[in-house]
């Protein structure tokens, strides 16, 4: 479904990704793990169009999307959430989802027309556990709810491939369990790629995991197989950083 081949990226003299190749199979949840600074988020940024790779290619459903801008990648059915939350803070939760919907996007240049019906936006909020908070402004939501809304905004575009960048960052045990349940539910209908530090969380959800370090993929495989990998064991203990 999605394939990145031999990606290289450098910022000035600093090489941040070197010969990274990944495949994300349709209907599966792929995890990316590694210590801070391993290049996971940069990898996401290359795959979703924030930066163009210096070398290498990215293909989605057979189409070369290397270097396409984010808006064109989004329109192909690829959505992402962010590690540092990126919401429309002055908008209500409902408006956050609404503005990310394909219906509003299709009518975005309508200058004299009315707004689109909220309809499905309410369903998306219910799906991420924010039913009843439709009218609360994003900036007034609790941290956990903002994390859920971050996923809701990504889901609003009705993607076929969803990239989630550390969706549990900064969350406590209960809130993490809530996000895990949400992602487990999404897994049935979507192809998901997930960056995560929480090993228990990731190994419980993923079908396939890539381990990154020093801007490279140093191991990959099914969770059961990777558990025995010395790199992963060291990573789990925090020794890779």
């Amino acid at each position: 479904m999605f394939e990145a081949a031999h990606l290289h990226k450098r910022f000035g003299a600093h090489v941040v990704l070197e010969d990274v190749s990944m495949r994300f199979a349709a209907g599966r949840l792929t995890g990316i793990m590694g210590p801070n600074g391993a290049g996971k988020t940069t990898c996401f940024n290359l795959l979703t169009g924030r930066f163009a790779p210096d070398r290498g290619s990215v293909r989605f459903e057979g189409r070369d999307i290397t270097g396409l801008p984010p808006r064109r990648i989004a329109r192909l059915g690829i959505s992402r959430s962010f590690q540092v939350m990126n919401l429309f803070d002055d908008y209500s939760a409902l408006d956050n989802v609404l503005v990310a919907s394909p219906e509003l996007r299709a009518r975005g240049f309508s200058m004299l027309g009315g707004l689109v019906e909220a309809g499905r936006a309410g369903d998306v909020l219910a799906q991420v556990g924010l039913a009843g908070k439709e009218d609360v402004r994003a900036k007034d939501l609790s941290y956990g709810d903002r994390r859920a809304l971050e996923i809701g905004v990504a889901l609003a575009a009705r993607p076929r491939l969803l990239f989630l960048d550390e969706p549990t960052a900064g969350l406590g045990t209960e809130a993490t369990a809530r996000i895990a349940a949400l992602i487990a539910g999404l897994k049935r209908s979507l192809t998901i790629v997930l960056i995560e530090h929480d090993m228990k969380f990731l190994f419980g959800l993923a079908d396939h995991i890539y381990v990154m370090h020093w801007g490279q993929v140093i191991a990959q495989g099914a969770p059961a197989r990777l558990r025995a990998n010395p790199w992963v064991q060291r990573s789990n203990l925090g020794l890779l950083a």
Partner: protein
Amino acid sequence: MLATFVLFATLPFWIKGVGLYPYLGVEVMIWIVYALGFNLLLGHAGLPSFGHGAYFGVGAYAFGLTQLHWGLGLGGGLLFAVLAGGIAGALVAAFISHRRGIYYALLTIAFGQIFWFVAVKWHSVTRGEDGLLNIKRGSVLGYPLEALESLYFFCFAVFVVVVLLLWRLVHSPFGRVLSAIRQNETRARFVGYNVWLYKWLAFTLSALIAGAAGGLLALAQQSAYPNVMSLHQSGFVVMMTLVGGGLVSFWGPVLGAVLFFLARDLLGAYTEAWLLWYGLLFMLIVLFKPEGLAGLLTDVRSRPSA
């Protein structure tokens, strides 16, 4: 909205009673049109333009030239002013729409200064600092606009149309997307919006409205000067918008423009340094109530009664 329209529709009948004069209403309406268009950019799209006087001035010169040399008539002249402002804005927006924040603001100043410089130096067309003089006002439906009442209600009609169109626009899907871009440009990009195009359109529309206001200004004062394009005068519309509360309310620029002209005429009656006092008010508002007069009114209305 109705209250605003009623206020300006009846203004010629009561304004002399409070010691002011009907032409003030013409000036205020023109600057409200200009400031509301400007606020489409600053308040709704979050794009700071500090050289917007350029498009106001382009509109004024465009109208003046059509009346002095090209015989386009009043309607054609105003349409040309709108188009000239819009085209000038579209060209500038093409160069700056990939920027944001301070770089965006600095580029608007740089382009604004270019327009001002051209207006001062291109003597054969603009008559330099002397400006275009003796611009004819023409007539509408047989009513010559030389009469102040006719001029007033013609400006009022344009004012109503622009306010209604802008109100609709900021509440349309386009307005909703502009506001989303102001709040989070990065996320807007990642949910599929062509942010550059929206920013370009916002600037062009804003310049187009500034062109219309400039055309009305040249019509009203029967002249066009380069001073409205100066950085100094470009600052007026920024102050009006911020003091009025354009960042939080559609009506902010209306309040700001009214306050600005009242300050000019009432404070100006006592001191030539009225702008100093207005500037101090601007500083106080930025420091203590950045939401401006509109924010202040909202606070008063939402305060629980004792």
